[in-house]
Amino acid sequence: MSVSRASIPKAALLVLLVAFLAAPDAFAGLFRPLAPAGTPPIYAQTPLLTLAVNHLLLVAAATLAASLLALGSAIAATRPAGRDVLPFARALANLGQTFPPVAVLALAVPIFGFGTVPTLIALVLYGLLPIFETALTGLESLDPALLEAARGMGMTDRQRLVRVELPLALPMILSGIRLSAVIGLATATIGSTVAASTLGEVIVSGLLTGNTAYVLQGGLVVSALAILIDAGLRALEAVAARRAGSHA
């Protein structure tokens, strides 16, 4: 992997983040001025590392589910048989975005109980639209001559989808997944209001006790994770774009 000037601050961020999660108490001095007198400067209810891992797992699961659903719908909507469904699928994905995650969470709780499940549902709903739209754009903007050639050579529809369409649309699909994951990282914090184990727990605790140090710890860790994951997925996108033969 080439090291450019732009990746140095990100590498530093990564090191800082790992250090903080591994040994948070070492940073106590930094946070002490921001915490009310007498309270521990570092959130200690649950280890920050555990919360971070849970948070990441939750977002990963939600992004995976949203990707499968959205990609499946985009593929279905671009087949000749599925053309009719396209405006509806688009409207549905748009609708998913108008539901504020808090509301979805709150409404899902009576049915699914507290904790991870309603948070997962809310994240999946919210993450559908970016992936759906980019997958749709990626699949629709393929060169028709390519698809004609593939068909004319005797590829079955499935072979054409898997060997030609998807690899070429992959960069766009990945950009949608990246967007969805980054948004999801921030949104997952809200899950703590319904007792899901995420970094939001730190933030909520800080809000309730007026402890800015906690709020910062939770917020900055999430932010750092989002920046790093965004950079990582961008690199993946670039690799996919090269493999798809975009004008190097």
Binding site: A149, R151, G152, M153, G245
Partner: protein, 310 residues
């Protein structure tokens, strides 16, 4: 052998192909020529079932194409289109090997075939095998597109304006390459073009289409000499017919004994090129040679006579 019997295609009330009947003998080249909207591309795509006829039957090697599953049919027919459709995310070798891979050839056989085709198209295998299409010039891409269509040794090759995007200098070379390949492999070729001169140059027989109808089907000489309708005549271009006819003939049978000054022309030169040389060098007669041996001469008068209406 390809047979089309009373084939029509009607879409939303519009007739794209109207009652076309054609027979294409094995090992020959049929060029289908017409203006845009004449249905020539649709006619081509009917053969490999990329579109289905509204009426009529199409037979390939005696079998009705509808009895063969479309994907299997297409793997046995080469298909080269304008804009070549090379997969940008696959190397040259992978592109050429697509159909053989679909047919489950073993890897060594595919590699050997790839190298054979690259050499045939005068592309150094070691240099071109692992390149991506984006790293090729337009002429190279076109050649790889045709190579890909030929990869699985299909008995039939369908081509839709394959030379359209090439500049004139490369186009002539590509046309000659095609004739040589066809002669070598004995492939039956159906080639669609809007360029009448290309059609005359390449085709053993030519089919002219106008608004979905087959207007005339004949060999080049018969077509030039006796266009069936004004439309065909217009396509040919009235002013050129003498020269078109002369381009179809070669000097070999017109050689007579006798001396002539200046550099000789090769046997196999077309009458038209010979006349052009005669005018340019202001010689009323030209010597003709083959393999360095002077065969005789050909006179301008004889050459000019070849331009008369047959």
């Amino acid at each position: 052998m390809i047979e089309l019997m009373h084939v029509s295609r009607v879409v939303d009330g519009r007739t794209i192909v109207a009652d076309v009947s054609l027979q294409i003998a094995s090992g020959t080249i049929l060029t289908v020529v017409g203006t845009s909207g004449s249905g020539k591309t649709t006619l081509l795509r009917l053969i490999n079932r990329l579109v289905e006829p509204s009426a009529g039957t199409i037979r390939v090697a005696g079998r009705d194409v509808r009895t063969v599953p479309p994907d299997a049919l297409r793997r046995g027919i080469g298909y080269a289109i304008q804009g070549h459709g090379l997969f940008p995310h696959r190397t040259v070798a992978e592109n050429i090997g697509v159909v053989p891979k679909l047919l489950s050839w073993d890897r060594n056989r595919i590699a050997a075939r790839v190298d054979e085709l690259l050499a045939l198209f005068r592309l150094e295998p070691a240099l071109y095998r692992d390149r991506l299409p984006a790293a090729l010039s337009g002429g190279e891409q076109q050649r790889i597109g045709v190579a890909r269509a030929l990869a699985a040794e299909p008995p039939i090759l369908l081509m839709d304006e394959p030379f359209g995007a090439l500049d004139p200098i490369i186009r002539g070379q590509a046309q000659d390459d095609l004739k040589a390949i066809q002669k070598r492999y004995g492939t039956t070729i159906v080639l669609v073009t809007h360029d009448m001169n290309e059609a005359l140059r390449l085709g053993d027989r030519i089919a002219v289409m106008d608004r979905g109808r087959l207007v005339q089907e004949a060999d080049p000489t018969a077509l030039v000499g006796a266009p069936a309708t004004d439309f065909v005549g217009a396509l040919l271009g009235r002013g050129d017919r003498a020269f078109q006819l002369m381009a179809l003939r070669i000097v070999d049978d017109l050689v007579e004994p006798g001396p002539a000054p200046g550099a000789p022309i090769m046997a196999g030169t077309s009458v038209r090129d010979a006349l052009a040389e005669s005018l340019w060098s202001q010689r009323p007669a030209l010597p003709v040679s083959r393999d360095g041996v002077i065969l005789g001469r050909v006179t301008r008068a004889t050459l000019e006579a070849q331009g008369a209406c047959p």
